[in-house]
Symmetry: C2
Subunit: 247 residues, 2 copies
């Protein structure tokens, strides 16, 4: 299988249950970690309610602006599952029953199968089904939009398929330094390091309630050498007693 | 204190650490629950990296479209903290040191105070400081944009202040029914109930890996009676043995 090279990604996370505080989303975190490991930059995440018009407009916008888009949620058979229809609407196509997905549903449910089960075989006209060896159920992909389920275990499973089909143009390396100094005292040193390593993305994260360290500094780069050089540069500006550990 | 009545809200969640999978965001969930309790509808959440131009454009858009906007993150003193500048940029104003916040920082840090500490006293010109009895540190509010810190404990603390200043036009009531039926079998019954209770927002959430129930049905309405009536309507369509519990 030849992986498609994509540089940027966006996610559209769908569900009233998230926006009303009933459920804490964990899919963005799983997606973000997977994409990072592939060298793909997750650039925008949007969370929206189950409303076709709003979702369709967002799919259209994200699909045009980013190389690949992942939707999460809204793919079941009930009235509040409107993702497939919204994606279809975004691209001006109809929704049809996919024969491969229908057959899979027939295999799973046998004589218990109803018309409602078959609603889970709906895809936008023109969608491809992407599979991978470790995931039996294929994922509908409409143009550059991957339609993933919202249930966290299933979402993560489908990420394995995405990992088989997609990769970034490069890979990211992350290093981290944990220090005892608070951010305001670190700032002048950090500014110097940021200025000297423009190719490294440096993040500073205070930890207010941890007894072991006060600030985590992260170094993200496309080369391990560059990330390490920036980390070493900062470490050399610090007293050894201020450094808790490097990762 | 007279609470301002707002109907819709949006959130702008800021930070490379979220989009690279280093950190799982929990602030959206906290915000969503708080707003729901206030009767305010959280309609859109956007997660973006630490880039001023991108953030400013989004603040402008969300501020125009929704009654109130909450930002999360990017308010510390380091190079990657750009939220205040982005909000200022969105409204075409400068950033200044606020004297109240400067004094608070001087009180906290005393002789240890540096110029870097004072970066945490920056606000967009024209921002108000909103306080509340239980939260000492006031929150900068620029037009309808509440600028909240990303650290989850502090974010939650600031939500107490928001709760003192804002409320929705009504309140939401949520009921739930947990049933043993899978969604495809529920669907025809659910469609009937949805059609008969247009004033109730009905959600259906399958649970794939729970031994006690297969689907949770939620009923959200502005009146307890309406939510309860829809729940009872569905319950009457089910065999008693299919119902696990109501909440």
């Amino acid at each position: 299988m030849i992986q498609r090279v994509v540089r940027t990604a966006a996610a559209l996370v769908i569900g009233n249950e998230l926006l009303t505080g009933k459920v804490l989303d964990a899919n963005v975190h799983a997606l973000a970690g997977s994409l990072r490991a592939l060298g793909i930059r997750l650039s925008r995440v949007v969370m929206l309610p189950d409303e076709i018009g709003i979702l369709a407009a967002e799919v259209r916008r994200l699909s045009a602006e980013f190389d690949v888009v992942f939707t999460s949620g809204g793919v079941g058979p009930t009235h509040d599952d409107v993702t497939v229809e919204a994606v279809a609407h975004a691209f001006g196509v109809e929704v049809v029953l996919d024969p491969t997905l229908s057959d899979l549903l027939r295999k799973v449910y046998g004589e218990r199968l109803t018309d409602a089960h078959l609603l889970m075989a709906r895809v936008p006209v023109g969608a491809l089904l992407c599979g991978s060896p470790e995931v039996e159920w294929p994922t509908p992909v409409m143009n550059n939009v991957w339609i993933l389920p919202g249930i966290p275990d299933l979402f993560k499973l489908k990420l394995l398929t995405a990992r088989a089909w997609l990769r970034g143009p490069t890979s990211f390396v992350t290093r981290a330094l944990f220090v005892r100094l608070e951010e305001p005292l670190l700032k002048p040193l950090l500014d110097a390091v940021v200025a000297r390593h423009p190719e490294v993305e440096i993040g500073s994260y205070p930890k207010w309630f941890d007894p072991t360290y006060r600030t985590q500094i992260t170094f993200d780069a496309e080369s391990a050498g560059a990330a390490q050089a920036a980390l070493d540069d900062l470490r050399n500006l610090l007293a050894p007693s201020d450094v808790v550990r490097a990762e």
